[in-house]
């Protein structure tokens, strides 16, 4: 494997894609909203609960009580319940950003006919695909981790108690951000490659590829409805499922991203 070629592809992708305002907007604005929103919510719920003279564990949905540790007060448990909904927002970051980058980088190359000269170089198809995948995934993973870091760092400043911070910086969230996030990024890049082979407009590719958000929304609604409580077990099962999805998606992506396919079958 030629790492110089992979580095060159990543460098090219970033140089080109980050000059696109649409991509920059998605990369900066969305994670910012997803980070600020739970912080604002935590701040106001903290104030509200103080004003109400405290909230009891009876106010927390019964299905969720298991997620709270025994040393948590009712108010803290309520905060954990509310903030847990936002975990899923953080999980959307590594899906949406790579989709945007990959859609513009692959469909963009298709429309400007720049893929053929690129394929005529000695770079192998695997190196090219890996370069493109990394170029799309790495910023998403980085932005996801930075947003989460900023979120955790801001918690004490808002008066969030140690128990709640410990929960957020605990195994459920860390599994979601550190492992599930990158797995979802890989899947969404490969889905975008597949979709990109069929469409000629980056926005269409982006819209179709964001279908990957549906399982996250499903999880969000399931949690709100009390059907599922996101805990370590649920997250481990989700990661297991994502590994299987990734294997399928990488297979799909690599089989579609072949020189002859791109030149003769991509429409």
């Amino acid at each position: 494997m030629n790492f110089k070629s992979i580095r060159t592809i990543i460098d090219k992708e970033w140089a080109e894609v980050f000059k696109n305002r649409m991509v920059l907007f998605t990369m900066i604005f969305m994670p910012l909203i997803f980070t600020v929103l739970p912080l604002v919510m935590l701040y106001f719920t903290g104030q509200e609960m103080g004003d109400m003279g405290g909230v009891g564990t009876a106010d927390v949905p019964a299905e969720f009580l298991s997620a709270c540790s025994s040393d948590m007060t009712g108010a803290e448990c309520m905060q954990v319940y509310l903030v847990n909904q936002f975990l899923l927002l953080f999980m959307m970051v590594p899906v949406i950003i790579p989709v945007t980058i990959a859609a513009y980088s692959i469909v963009g190359e298709k429309t400007t006919h720049s893929l053929e000269p690129l394929l005529a170089t000695p770079i192998s198809t695997f190196e090219l695909l890996l370069g493109k995948s990394l170029a799309a995934s790495l910023p998403a993973i980085f932005v996801g981790w930075v947003s989460f870091g900023l979120f955790v760092a801001a918690l004490p400043l808002l008066g969030v108690t140690k128990s709640v911070i410990n929960y957020i910086a605990g195994p459920t969230w860390l599994l979601a951000i550190i492992i599930a996030g990158p797995l979802m990024a890989i899947a969404s890049v490969n889905l975008t490659i597949f979709v990109s082979s069929r469409v000629n407009d980056p926005r269409t590719a982006e819209q179709i590829s964001t279908l990957f958000l549906l399982p996250i929304f499903g999880l969000l609604f399931a949690q709100l409805a009390g059907v599922v409580v996101i805990n370590v077990m649920v997250m481990l099962s989700f990661i297991g499922g994502m590994i299987l999805v990734d294997i399928g998606m990488v297979y799909l992506g690599t089989s579609i991203f072949q020189r002859e396919n791109i030149l003769t079958r991509w429409k």
């Binding site: 090219k12 053929e116 005529a120 170089t121 192998s124």
Partner: protein, 314 residues
């Protein structure tokens, strides 16, 4: 340098619905040769280039480029050939310099920056090196794409319609650059619709429509199709002279057109003095003598027409 043996590419559109793009292509192009590959739209020229540059695999047959076999040593082929694709395919948001640097790095060119600088100077783009390629005119884009194909100093170049869509001045510049490349001893496989360009630049020409219909030097193709002909312009013309000319040994045929005799022969250098002497002795006022030169366009159209007739007969 480039060799193809029964090279064939058939695209399967649906099951049982095949399109033969290239059929039984046999070709041998020597080092330093500029080979013109002519054919109508959809003839399979781009498919041939894609096969020879290892971008797509053949359905059957074999080909070698620079001694490397297509389908078996693809990466080596791509490392040693330069390709100018039909569309320049530049990164429009990136500068000319960055566009070339990307390709220099992918080809692992030593002293990449110096090499990029050399070709930007050579093609007159140095002063615009920091401008995005998207702001370039069509001619400048094409020049940048040519520079990109040359960065790794390939000995074999595939140029697909290099002057297509360019204004006459830009086309002339590109053409003279191709001439220079030919003079440097590089092997050039030139796909073009511009028949004058092919006539001027190419040592040999292949006329292609899914199959290679004819291949030879432009002069030989002319001779093969039309034979050599000499035109004798006269002030006044006596039809009786026609018979006298026909009786000269070596004359193939004589046509009378306006005030001219068009004489078909194999050896004008040997026969012209005899015919001139005969005409002058008979009192003719000879104004001009010149060889009738059919354009490559005539040859091309005639060849394709004959190919069509053969197919109709079959």
């Amino acid at each position: 340098m480039i060799e193809a043996k029964a090279l064939t590419k058939i695209f399967e559109i649906k099951k049982g619905d095949d399109i033969p793009a290239v059929v039984d292509l046999n070709l041998s192009i020597a080092q330093g040769e500029v080979f013109g590959f002519l054919g109508p739209n959809g003839a399979g020229k781009t498919t041939t280039v894609r096969m020879l540059t290892s971008l797509i695999g053949p359905t059957s047959g074999q080909a070698w480029v620079n001694g490397f076999e297509v389908g078996k040593q693809d990466q080596k082929i791509r490392r040693t050939v330069g390709v100018l694709t039909e569309h320049p395919g530049l990164y429009e948001r990136l500068s000319a310099f960055k566009n070339l640097m990307i390709y220099a790095n992918l080809h692992d060119v030593e002293n990449a920056e110096k090499q990029v600088e050399k070709y930007l100077h050579m093609l007159g783009l140095w002063s615009r090196r920091d401008d995005p390629a998207g702001s370039f005119s069509k001619g400048m884009r094409q020049k940048l794409a040519i520079a990109r194909a040359l960065l790794h100093e390939p000995q074999v170049l595939f140029l697909d319609e290099p002057t297509s869509g360019l204004d006459p001045e830009a086309a002339r510049l590109v053409r003279s650059f191709i001439e220079e490349l030919g003079d440097q001893g590089r092997t050039i496989f030139l796909c073009t619709h511009n028949l004058n360009e092919a006539d001027r630049l190419c040592n040999r020409i292949g006329i292609f429509k899914s199959r290679l219909i004819a291949v030879d030097t432009p002069a030989n193709l002319r001779q093969e199709i039309y034979g050599r002909k000499v035109v004798f312009h006269l002030r006044t013309l006596d039809p009786a002279w026609k018979n006298s000319i026909e009786n000269i040994e070596g004359v193939r045929d004589v046509q009378l057109v306006d005030q001219k005799f068009v004489v078909g022969m194999e050896d004008p250098e040997g026969l012209n003095p005899k015919i001139i002497r005969l005409l002058v002795e008979n009192g003719a006022d000879l104004l001009f003598v010149g060889e009738l030169r059919h354009s490559l366009e005539d040859i091309y159209l005639q060849t394709l027409e004959e190919e069509g007739e053969i197919k109709d007969e079959l």
